[in-house]
């Protein structure tokens, strides 16, 4: 039976600001700049937007959109509280809204001054989901994402022999892709030696295993499949989408298996809805808050067996021209940190054939993931619709 959300929604518009470290603009202004670009990219008027899913906390909320864009009849205002998994999980929420006829054009957006404003360790403790981490982990010196996720990476290395060389491969390849993209914070090539020589942040994460704190905005429009058909750009159809929540979602420390993210639960559902398998994926944009997070997700998604993610990423497999090009825009590690909305934007570009110098040849079906909030996961499988 075809799932009621299969191919019922499409990404119809994408927009992003320049990604920088340092800005005179507010997160709010960056978010609206990207939103107006996405609306224009779709060939829509701002007044066509009838659903808003903004990244939260931080940045614009639906009330700001009504006030700034003069929206005449907003029908849906939703927060998806999943940290880095928010944007891709919001694709599912948006797909539900347009497939049921509640909305026609839902806007998902992020605006953040991650470099110029509050930093990650400060932002996190504002999340209600981090109350337990704040009570039991922050007092013993574990509160930044690098510190929360490093123990899982260390355990993977001890159990399966994953090495710093494997982690470096993700950083080096992602940097190459960022340089091809052009709109990226990081502009110089990175070598394995430079990765290994970068300062230790929280063992085993070195500086170049960590994503950027950057300033920027990003936005996409999700439209009902039939409403997207006659818009300005080729519609990129959502074949399958799902979110998943790990056991012990508010404490990694108490999770039975630290290496099983919510993605373990979400992936079979999204692949089932899409009617494809990992072997069908031509390009993958994998949420890369840390290098290791990519390896773990590849395992959770079923691209390789548990413990084999390190060797899997080697030998050019994840670079352009390889069997599974990953993070063709430079990701959070080298392009910019807009909570992974840039990953959805890049996948849309790839499937439209707008990938420029980083275009994956004959990319027909692609995958994007979100990961965050201490293990929440989300994924979408998309293709260019006929």
């Amino acid at each position: 039976m075809v799932h009621p959300l299969h191919e019922r929604a499409a990404v119809s518009g994408i927009g992003e600001t320049v990604y920088t470290r340092g800005t005179s603009k507010s997160g709010l202004a960056l978010q609206f700049e990207a939103s107006l670009k996405a609306i224009a990219d779709a060939g829509l008027s701002p007044r066509d937007i009838d659903g808003i899913i903004p990244y939260f906390p931080g940045g614009a909320i639906a009330e700001d959109y009504v006030a700034n864009l003069g929206l005449p009849d907003l029908k849906l205002s939703v927060f998806v509280p999943m940290g880095g998994a928010t944007c891709v999980a919001a694709l599912q929420t948006a797909a539900m809204a347009v497939a049921t006829g509640v909305c026609r054009h839902v806007l998902i957006s992020v605006g953040r001054t991650g470099y110029s404003g509050a930093r990650a360790s400060e932002r996190l403790l504002q999340f209600p989901q981090f109350a337990l981490a704040g009570e039991f982990e922050a007092p013993i010196g574990i509160f930044a994402p690098a510190q929360l996720y490093a123990p899982g990476a260390r355990r993977h290395m001890e159990l399966y022999g994953t090495t710093p060389r494997h982690l470096a491969e993700i950083a080096v390849v992602t940097r190459q892709h960022a340089i091809l993209n052009g709109n990226a914070v990081m502009t110089k090539p990175l070598t394995v030696e430079e990765h290994h020589a970068s300062r230790m942040i929280s063992d085993p994460f070195r500086l170049f295993d960590c994503s950027l704190e950057s300033d920027g905005g990003a936005a996409i429009i999700v439209s009902a499949a039939e409403a997207a058909r006659d818009l300005a750009k080729p519609r990129v159809s959502i074949m399958g989408v799902a979110e998943g929540h790990p056991d012990s979602p508010a404490s990694i420390a108490q999770r039975p298996d630290l290496l099983e993210f919510g993605l373990v639960k979400a992936a079979p559902r999204a692949f089932g809805m899409a009617g494809v398998t990992p072997a069908d994926i031509d390009v993958a944009e994998i949420y890369d808050c840390f290098t290791f997070t990519v390896i773990n997700q590849l395992e959770n998604l079923g691209f390789c067996k548990k413990g084999e993610g390190g060797p899997f990423v080697m030998d050019g497999r994840i670079a352009l021209g390889g069997a599974l090009p990953i993070n063709t825009h430079g990701g959070l590690l080298s392009q910019g940190h807009v909570v992974g909305l840039n990953h959805i934007i890049e996948l849309t570009r790839q499937l439209r054939g707008e990938g420029g110098r980083a275009q994956v040849k004959d990319a027909e079906i692609g995958l994007v993931t979100g990961y965050g909030d201490m293990g929440d996961g989300s994924l979408a499988i998309m293709r260019r619709a006929a």
Binding site: S121, L132, G134, E135, F136, E137, A138, P139, I140, G141, I142, F143, A144, A146, Q147, A150, P151, G152, R154, R155, E158, L159, R199, M200, I201, S202, D203, P204, S251, A253, Q254, L258
Partner: protein, 139 residues
């Protein structure tokens, strides 16, 4: 007028109605873990409902101080000025014999000697007159 000395505040737990007994235990030098009164299973961090049988009746029982290392990290970058002087500091996650995990600073083990399964013992470190934090040491 002399310049004010700025001392960064160390983040400290704010005990809740759920967790007060755990923190009271640490202050008294006892490792008190919440147990379901219906099915007997332990749970941590403290919360109102047993996820196994949904009973809301629970009590806190003194648990053994022994456990084994599950994994760890060595924090080199402080992220918070309160921890700047302590870097690099080692934090281990231990599988306690009580059936729950504890995340705490680990003392007395060289980084090269760390391994999964290493036996550890929980002890108590007073941070303020009200709050005592857990710490771990190799057995």
């Amino acid at each position: 007028m002399s310049a004010a000395v700025i001392t960064p505040d160390r983040p400290l737990p704010k005990p809740t109605r759920e967790s007060q007994a755990f923190w009271d235990g640490l202050r008294e030098g006892r490792f008190m873990i919440q147990h379901c009164m219906a099915c007997g299973r332990p749970r941590h961090y403290p919360r109102p409902v047993c996820p196994h049988c949904w009973s809301m009746e629970s009590d806190f029982r003194e648990a053994p101080l022994t456990g084994r290392i599950h994994t760890w990290t060595v924090c080199h970058h402080a992220f918070n000025f309160a921890f700047k002087q302590a870097t690099p500091y080692l934090v281990a996650l231990a599988d306690m014999d009580a059936g729950v995990r504890v995340n705490a600073p680990l003392h007395g083990v060289a980084e090269a000697d760390l391994r999964i399964g290493l036996p550890v013992r929980l002890s108590f470190e007073a941070a303020t007159p009200e709050i005592t934090l857990p710490c771990l040491a190799a057995v």
